[in-house]
Symmetry: C2
Subunit: 568 residues, 2 copies
């Protein structure tokens, strides 16, 4: 089974476009889905599981984009996020519907006559009796149906989510594609970023199209622009293209740069309120140089709230740097892509410049090892498929220095400590920042903080996880940090009682590639040894420091005790 | 913020195609990724985490496609799956490379001079001493670097994976797009299927392109065809199109229908062997009407193996039926798609025929409730966006009968029992099949089996999970079945000792939508009440039956004891 070289003959394409009318042939009908359709149908992938989770994920994606944006221009971030509850009347008027009273009451799910209610309660009581008898006799029991009266399906809840930042803004012409075209994005080099798939705001737009049909509003202005771009658009799901309602330049009334994004979606504040607030608090912990204002505007004003997370430092960690790939982590497709995109002419320059940790001398030796048909000066864009496979092979077998962590930007022990103190007000805290390690050719750094005591802290282990400086709030039980803290740290050897003492465990991991288990950026699996080892070590280092302090405190207390006893 | 009606004006598109050359402007460069590129870069999503996992996932995807295919034509499935180890020499000749000896030894990762080895061992010993001392003193310890000598990076391992079945085959013209075009697929109605994203074999092809560059070979023949289609192709990742090397009709030498797929990929048999074999065994448990032949052909013949899973019954469960959507589970986009695709003319017919559980009378009442501008005879394809939102609203609020489970095809208690007995040879087994329940408008059925005892069974709970009749082997700890069995069943009340007795717990869930947590079809989250409740109930029903048998056995034993004592 020989591989043919990269042929230039046009691929054999059936004459079937994105036709929506099914063929009448009795054979299968092949349809082409657009990427937007794919993500709409599989929105769970991106963290849009149920309306409440959709609200949470929309908020987090917008906030994370805003932070990345401000940091990219070395601006101390200031982010305002507002969730405004939209009642049914207001929503209908936004849609352009006449609000209606119910006419045919019995059509509705929450309808129940008084008589039906009596019957239901009586039946439930009888059922319970029968089940108890049957269980005692070991007989099969009629299956219980979940109580539907409790579901409260009064209809959906809608929210306008607004996120305003002081970041980079977007070039005027790019805005429609940046929001209305799935799989369109800025050129991603290899870099530590919060965003992972470039899907964030687009998924929010897709969800708004699925749940409300209302478009997204984007305002943007960049440094040096004397106007504000305003764009209202939705997404044509079939064609995966933006459908623009308005796209204009408006007068810039005040000095501002950044973006303001507004979207109206179905959500559920009641079920996800605590997760959203927890997320904001954790964001403030890990990003103390950013200022956040979070507002919830209720339909009934007694539930409204405003929370300000003030900036606690002007010290911003360095912006993560773009870096080249490590030879051990590249696959054939990536090598081909790098060849296509490189500005370098020949093989020697290509190896030297498109990868980390290949010096000129090293490149020359590698080329020598590849075989007689390889020369340093050969044109990189003329390599055959076989030759590329040979390079790939050698990359896998040869020895390369591990990547250093220079391109990474950890939170920093200073900021970590600040955040922990602000969050928990503990009696004592210890932090540790590890050196760069490697995982599948990607550098990563683990930093940790462990706190002890604190008036309002819950007893036991309180675990806080961060990846590329975003909080991870779900799937805690499966995460490497949780498993390490619960099972692999010998707390008692550090004079810490795992169940009774009030312990905070904060672990932050930064990398050019965070190996999230699923596509919702929710947890890091426990099956990667390098990461688990580094996490354990970092926590242990904090514990060692804490132990000293705890021991000293105990000694001081004992001394006081003795003094008191003597003076009696 | 009014929504505009569905405008027919062409969207405003920037004049940027899928250009690969970056613009020289100092602003951002927007690039359009193809879906194939997206999945290549995020292959973790589809279960292609590391080479060993890639091998596992490739095998499972091909096997599951084969089973779906045979069942779709009501054929008792016969699947042959072969993994052939490809040594370095053979692989190089397949690629068209001249095999080379190493020349510059020191370039290689596993190279170590004798002197370097001595030094390394001495250093490690010294380090350990120092660390022990420092730990005792509570000082900071120099970070341990993971031992790299142990990594054994001799290079990658390659395998040819072949899967042959007796299924439906594929129409000749469709083959290239079915394998070489991501997001292309047969029209998916709502149905219980094993495959979830339509990505399976395409991901294997993408992975082969990333790891070997070799194309995929497909042979196919359908009932009534007098030829065998043969197609060799790979995928043009940038354009997301198949790149065909060969596409021809060959002479059909024997009576056969089905498909045979062959792909050469990087993998790791050593690390994933047990998972792959476990998967095959579980497949045989849940699909006893299918015949499987699994072969591993080793480079060194002592590791080769052939395992035959014979068919144990000719009784095949009914093929899952395509069904319409339930009104409570549709979103705006789906309603619009159904409107676009329907062959029905007016609103009344549309409601009646495109959804389950809307009778003619019910549809008339719903239309009345929608408002004065809605009429039963109004043309469905002329509805405005606002009107569609109104329908959606009413769907969410109105009461509909739950969907029945007629379209589903559970494994069946008979087959479940057969499979459990074959797998564990237990002393006793009890099974239970639940009635259809509902979750987010989708019907689901839970069936369970609990076994007790068995010579080779491990002590404690042995949990086996199935979703749409495929085994789930990963993320066990987070799965609803595991959590229910471990924490929510009061085993002792059924005379079962959770830690010491040898217990098998088999749970199979079928549905038109399995709410997998991640995109690898690995586990079902524990946060869906309806499912957790049904799983618990099914397991309990099995336990009740087992308890009777256990009690009788104990009584019989006690009787024998008494007899023996009397006769003394």
């Amino acid at each position: 089974m020989e591989a043919r070289g990269s042929s230039e003959s046009p691929p054999d394409q059936p004459k079937r476009g994105k036709s929506k009318t099914p063929r009448k042939a009795k054979d299968s009908v092949l349809k082409q889905k657009s990427p937007a359709e794919f993500f709409a149908e599989n929105k769970n992938i991106a963290g849009f599981d149920n309306p409440g989770k959709c609200l949470y994920t929309t908020v987090r994606e917008l906030v994370e984009n805003s932070l990345d944006s401000a940091e990219s221009i070395s601006e101390l971030p200031a982010v305002e996020i507002t969730i405004e509850e939209i009642g049914k009347v207001k929503f209908n008027s936004m849609i352009g519907l006449v609000d209606r009273e119910r006419v045919d009451e019995e059509l509705y799910d929450d309808y129940e006559t008084a008589k039906a209610r009596e019957k239901r309660l009586a039946k439930a009581a009888r059922n319970q009796e029968i089940q108890a008898k049957n269980a005692a006799l070991g007989k099969k029991v009629k299956e219980p149906t979940p109580s539907k009266g409790m579901k409260g399906r009064g209809g959906a809840s809608f929210y306008r989510v607004t996120c305003k930042d002081n970041g980079r803004g977007m070039p005027h012409d790019d805005i429609p594609n940046m929001f209305g075209r799935v799989l369109s994005g800025t050129k991603y080099g290899l870099r530590q970023t919060r965003g992972k798939f470039g899907l964030g705001a687009k998924m929010a737009l897709i969800w708004s199209k699925m749940s409300t049909g209302l478009p997204i509003d984007i305002s943007s202005s960049m440094r040096g622009q004397n106007y504000v771009s305003f764009c209202r658009l939705d997404i044509d799901i079939h064609r995966n293209l933006p459908h623009i309602h308005i796209h204009e330049k408006q007068e810039k009334k005040e000095e501002w740069h950044g973006a303001e994004i507004q979207v109206v979606i179905e959500g559920n504040w009641t079920t996800y309120r605590s997760k959203i607030l927890h997320y904001m608090r954790q964001m403030a912990v890990i990003t103390p140089y950013a200022q956040f204002v979070f507002k919830f505007v209720s339909d009934t004003s007694d539930k409204s709230m405003t929370i300000k997370f003030a900036r606690r430092t002007d010290v911003m960690p360095p912006v993560p740097l773009e870096t080249k790939h490590h030879p051990s982590s590249v696959d054939l497709l990536l090598i081909k892509r790098l060849i296509t995109e490189t500005s370098k002419q020949n093989l020697l320059q290509f190896l030297q410049h498109e990868f980390v940790n290949i010096s000129k001398a090293h490149a020359e030796r590698l080329i020598g090892e590849m075989g007689p048909e390889f020369q340093p000066k050969m044109l990189i864009k003329s390599l055959t498929d076989q030759q590329i496979v040979r390079i790939h092979q050698l990359f896998r077998q040869a020895k390369f220095e591990d990547p250093v962590g220079d391109c990474l930007s950890p939170a920093g022990e200073y900021n970590l400590r600040l955040g922990i103190i602000k969050e928990l007000h503990p009696d004592m805290v210890a932090t540790y920042s590890g050196s760069a390690q490697v995982f599948e050719g990607h550098p990563f750094i683990v930093e940790a903080g462990v706190s002890f005591g604190g008036k309002d802290v819950k007893q036991g282990l309180n675990i806080f996880r961060f990846a590329n400086r975003i909080p991870l709030l779900f799937e805690q039980g499966a995460d490497v940090v949780t498993r390490t803290a619960l099972k692999r740290i010998n707390w008692t050897s550090y004079k810490i009682n795992q169940m009774q003492d009030k312990i905070g465990v904060f672990v932050s991991i930064v990398s050019t590639k965070i190996p999230f288990k699923g596509t919702g950026k929710e947890y890091i699996g426990d099956d990667i040894t390098e990461i688990a080892t580094a996490v354990k070590y970092a926590i242990q280092q904090c514990c060692i420091q804490l132990k000293n302090k705890i021991v000293k405190k105990m000694q001081a207390r004992e001394q006081q005790e003795r003094k008191r006893n003597l003076s009696k």
